[in-house]
């Protein structure tokens, strides 16, 4: 599988602060990559380095197989980006904004421009917005327009920073569906977010950034693989304890974690002893547990140096 985004020992220093501290990203074609991290952990700086907006202090960035920022003129037309919040010219209409953006760089023919703009507006659910100036858009509409700008040239890679920001629950579900549809069409998606639930629902691979370091990078399925234990719910936890004793790993009210990779076997054992079982499941760590285990405190906290 070819690397769509590859960074090697990427470092960005702002004065004495190492905002990004030697990260090696590896995003492959066909991934939906979730780039997680607390606020201030260096996500946005990394995204900006990928796109050639911020120049690395040291290290390399490769995008679609070519070195950035040198090859930006060839590579970036194949990349769609939503960087932090969307931004538009408020006195112009959404369509006019997209046309100007398309005309501002290479790789977007003016012959197909009108058609592509109309298509992409339709795709993000702004087909009927007409000539209204962007000033009159709601936050959710601006977010959709920003996404439309990213999709304008049918990119091979989408780099999205908090794409569901400002959307209502229906809007979030709609955008998720759109992203999955694009992914099925062959687009690689790089999704930077601090919303664990969003990443858990969408992504196939996850990278976790903590204070400028990449502390975790793996397939979501591997990270949340069964731990070899079974979760049991029962109104009589004490009897389970008495029966299985050392195999009980944890008790929390009526919820017990029992060693044993096969829930059916655990169930048979308990039912055989006449213990009622109300719920039974494989024990999997949630993404939240994985991330919290890997990353330390919130990067917003500024501790006093002693």
């Amino acid at each position: 599988m070819s690397a769509v985004i590859a960074t090697r020992a990427l470092v960005k220093r702002f004065g004495r602060l190492r905002a990004v501290d030697g990260i090696d990203l590896d995003v492959r074609a066909g991934d939906v990559y979730g780039f997680l991290g607390a606020n201030g952990s260096g996500k946005t700086t990394t995204v900006r380095m990928l796109l050639g907006l911020v120049l690395p202090t040291s290290g390399e960035v490769e995008l679609l197989g070519e070195r950035m920022p040198r090859a930006g003129r060839r590579v970036l037309p194949r990349v769609g980006a939503l960087i932090e919040s969307p931004a538009h010219y408020g006195h112009l209409s959404g369509a006019e904004n997209l046309k100007l953006l398309d005309a501002a760089g290479p790789g977007g023919s003016w012959r197909t421009r009108g058609r592509r703009v109309a298509e992409v507006l339709e795709q993000v659910g702004l087909g009927g917005v007409g000539r209204r100036p962007v000033t009159a858009y709601s936050l959710g509409m601006r977010q959709r327009l920003g996404l439309a700008g990213a999709l304008l040239r049918r990119p091979d890679l989408l780099v999205l920073d908090e794409p569901t920001n400002g959307l209502d629950p229906q809007g979030i579900a709609e955008i998720r569906e759109l992203l999955l549809e694009l992914h099925r069409g062959g687009t690689t998606v790089f999704l930077s977010s601090h919303l664990l639930a969003e990443v858990e629902q969408l992504c196939s691979r996850v990278g976790v950034l903590d204070r400028g370091r990449l502390v975790l990078q793996d397939d979501l399925a591997t990270l949340t693989a069964p731990t070899g234990a079974t979760v049991v719910r029962t109104p009589e936890p004490d009897r389970v304890r008495a029966l299985l004793d050392a195999r009980v790993i944890a008790v929390d009210g009526d919820r017990l974690v029992v060693r044993g990779p096969d829930p059916a076997a655990v169930n048979a054992l308990l039912v055989g002893a006449g213990i009622p079982v109300t719920a039974l499941a494989l024990d999997r760590p949630s993404l939240e547990e994985v991330v919290l285990a890997a990353a330390a405190t919130s990067a917003d906290r500024v501790e006093a140096v002693r």
Partner: protein, 270 residues
């Protein structure tokens, strides 16, 4: 890219509002002059204003002289200061560069758009001045116009020299634009960039009146601004004009090089 920038500039209501405001003062002055018939005596007030009552064809020059010290530089500094910093403040700069517009190409396009605005502003002020002049004041006397030196100029000569004056004022404003554009690449605040450029001009005008500053006077950016008056001497006094052009050329060259060096190596964090 250049077309995109021109379209953005001229589709913006603010551009036209600025041009309209720019013309308000010369028109007001013309109306007051007609109503009161009180022209400043020769040698006082803005250049050419004393002569317009007898010849309205000179009013374009009077209009340029009226807006030159303050209004025109402010308008140019506002537009040029907004060029990069305005995009940064609105957040559109990161999208333009990720498009990718190319940093050098974007800067060149911004420069061309600013240049177009400077030309537009100067030409509109002159054109409105001409219309106001010939409709409010007496038409040109048959004997021909008197030059600043006292000899007569034909209307053909007047037209040619007025065109040259427009060009000269345009080049002077290009210096202002270069300052504002350079500051615009330094900050994310368009107001800061505009104010920076105006501060330079105010400082320059102030130092110019100070005898103690005379050693540096020839290098002040506003030093030769009013030299376009020399185009209406007979023969034309080229000394200050060429010096003015050379000085603005150096300022524009150095500042644009600095703007380019800064912008192409800058981290875009806006």
């Amino acid at each position: 890219m250049i077309l995109v920038e021109l379209r953005k500039l001229f589709r913006r209501p603010r551009t036209w509002a600025t041009v309209a405001v720019l013309n308000a003062l010369p028109v007001l002055v013309a109306v007051l002059l007609v109503l009161t018939d009180l022209a400043p005596r020769p040698g006082e007030g803005p250049p050419f204003l004393s002569a317009v009552l007898s010849n309205g064809a000179l009013y374009p020059l009077a209009a340029l002289a009226i807006v030159l010290p303050l209004f025109l530089p402010i308008a140019v500094a506002v537009v040029a200061g907004d060029a990069v910093a305005g995009e940064a403040q609105a957040g559109t700069l990161r999208y333009l560069l990720a498009r990718p517009a190319g940093r050098t190409r974007l800067l060149v396009a911004k420069l061309v758009a600013v240049l177009a605005f400077v030309l537009l502003a100067v030409v509109v002020v002159a054109a409105v001045g001409y219309v106001v002049g010939i409709s409010l004041f007496d038409a040109q006397p048959v004997a021909g116009t008197t030059s600043v030196s006292g000899t007569s100029l034909s209307s053909g000569e007047i037209a040619g020299r007025t065109a040259m004056a427009i060009g000269y004022v345009g080049v002077s404003m290009l210096g202002v634009a270069a300052f504002a554009l350079f500051f615009s690449t330094l900050t994310d605040s368009p107001l800061g960039a505009t104010m920076g450029a105006l501060a330079v001009l105010v400082a320059s005008s102030l130092l110019f009146t100070l005898d103690a500053a005379s050693p540096i006077a020839p290098y002040l950016p506003t030093r030769y601004w009013l030299a376009f008056v020399d185009l209406f001497r007979d023969p034309i006094l080229w000394r200050d004009l060429t010096r003015g052009l050379a000085l603005q050329g150096v300022y524009v060259g150095v500042l644009l090089a600095a703007a380019w060096a800064n912008f192409t190596t800058k981290d875009i964090t806006s």
